[in-house]
Assembly symmetry: C2
């Protein structure tokens, strides 16, 4: 089924986030080939150009590398993966805390609401 996107962020950014998460969560192992651009684009129901742009983002981050015309692969550098995992997580958490503050939500309230929301959904 086509992936879900919101209208706040650019699609290629959302795709990059999703794929980044899949890689960091180990859906694709180091040195494993990921599906070709066209197939990913088809699955996500976006234009191949958009998918390629998302992939180039992950390439710049060092999560993926391209073997010329053979395909795209997850980096073999496991420490790079780990470093990226840390960076992404820290940036995200900092970002969420900032957003919460902008909405007038303190850290304590944030913690409280997250546990609450979690209990109901899963």
């Amino acid at each position: 089924m086509p992936w879900k996107f919101n209208s706040r962020e650019a699609v290629f950014v959302q795709i990059a986030s999703r794929l980044r998460g899949e890689i960091l969560r180990g859906k694709y192992q180091p040195d494993e080939q990921i599906p070709p651009v066209r197939q990913l684009a088809f699955e996500a129901a976006v234009n191949p150009n958009t998918m390629q742009k998302a992939l180039s983002v992950l390439e710049e981050e060092g999560l993926l590398y391209s073997r010329g015309t053979v395909g795209r692969f997850v980096t073999t550098d496991r420490s790079a993966l780990e470093r990226c995992r840390e960076t992404v997580r820290k940036d995200a958490v900092r970002h969420w805390i900032e957003e919460a503050a902008a909405l007038g939500i303190t850290r304590e309230e944030l913690l409280h609401y997250i546990s609450e929301e979690g209990e109901k959904s899963e």
Copy 2:
């Protein structure tokens, strides 16, 4: 000083978020007049049109209302403010949990990292 914006979201959306937070946190009291569009635009260092678009968002949410050519005011409906506060908070929390999941962060980890990040910064 000019407000800070990221390039991921549209500027008017970020402005709306910021002002929404200020209203919900009580920077502007119910029925209090907010600064005119042009002044806010100047402070934020954005175009008046962009600021107006942000304000119209908050108007649709019922947080602000316009008194013709007199100015824009915070709603007098305190229950509406409270309802908005709840809605905004719930949507935000749900959104953050989703984003965290996309990055491979479980709810438990999320709680842990937020307390950690909070301890260091404040």
